[in-house]
Symmetry: C2
Subunit: 223 residues, 2 copies
């Protein structure tokens, strides 16, 4: 698809995008401390990056520093937030309010990223109708229709692996363009649906396995 | 280090380890449904994997299926849990009880992985002494000494980026062998400390940037 190829070019380096939240966090602190300007050397020292890398990362947001004074802190915050679209509020739907979904629903940190979970869905009769962290849980069968009507662009999946694909299909057919997938399932979706995976169980499995080896390892190996 | 090299070989394929939680989840469901045996074809169909891949993954846990009946479900559950050390309880310390740390503290899903957060620490006077999800929050300065005395092997970091390295250093010097890092900071630690990173902000940044491009993209690109 031409459109997808075109977009890939415009997203910029993903490594840069992944670093931007750390910049933003530091800049907001500096701003709160009343600092007006900051140099790439200062940012690099705090974030353990080379100043060259800092200048390159920041340039991708369209901001260029001044030779002596450096970057204007409020302007740089604004540029990064605009680049990530974190300046605008993004309404999201959450599917699945088990342990993980409930934790996500209660996580206030998303506000910093302009992310609002406006509705949450589950298919369990025990959960539908309940109020969790201020939101009344709706039945999963309502997700598709509501997402369409409310023009929701972002869906968060926190259902068990076996229902993840079905939920993702419903989201995609409702016009949701981006899915943040916290289920351990890999999703098969049309090329134009953006997917980012966070797999806690897999990450912990790797950590646990390495730790198991370490703890059971023969002490002789140290000799 | 010889020991680290030796361990790398014994951890097995990381891709396999990452898939094991999905196997475990499916097998526990089958077990709850009273199924005694399952074939690699059945598992493959449910998890969208080739049966060959399933047999290879399972073989790494030391279990071999029988030609006709397949795998014994309870035995396979036990083998995977032993392989990941999820059969034994692992006590962990949590550093940082801001929004994310509090959510982790309240997340009941960790029980399935044999993970118990036994103590949680923070450096904010407003949080120390408070009880969050049943645990009284201790001052960060106590982490090192307590971890040493309680022989804690696993540390979870959910502090802001700027304090992550300091906390990681304290954990490493207390003998904590594995760190699950939820802060956006990259950690510099001795080679013998195992680190797994979960970076929500970076993941959401990538998703948000791709979505921003999609939503602002010229409709003409479709033509």
């Amino acid at each position: 698809m031409f459109r997808v190829e075109l977009e890939k070019e415009r997203v910029g380096s993903l490594a840069t995008v992944r670093r931007l939240p750390a910049y933003l966090h530091l800049l907001k602190q500096l701003n709160a401390d009343g600092r007006e300007f900051v140099s790439s050397t200062h940012i690099g020292r705090d974030l353990k990056l080379q100043p060259d890398q800092v200048r390159k990362d920041i340039a991708s947001t369209g901001i260029v520093g001044k030779p002596k004074s450096g970057y204007h802190v409020p302007a740089l915050i604004h540029a990064i937030e605009t680049f990530l679209r974190w300046d605008n509020n993004t309404d999201a739907f959450l599917a699945g309010v088990g342990n993980l979904g409930s934790a996500l629903l209660g996580y206030k940190g998303f506000e910093d990223y302009g992310l609002s979970i406006v509705s949450a869905f589950d298919s369990s009769p025990a959960k539908v109708g309940k109020v969790i962290h201020g939101r009344q849980i709706l039945h999963m069968s309502k997700l598709r229709n509501l997402a369409e009507r409310m023009h929701i662009h972002l869906g968060i999946i926190a259902v068990p692996a076996e229902s993840a694909q079905e939920v993702a299909d419903a989201m995609a057919s409702a016009g949701i363009a981006a899915i943040w997938n916290f289920s351990p399932a890999g999703l098969n979706l049309p090329e134009n649906v953006i997917v980012e995976n966070i797999d806690l169980a897999s990450s912990l499995a790797v950590l646990s396995r390495k730790l198991a080896i370490r703890l059971s390892g023969p002490a002789e190996a140290d000799l």
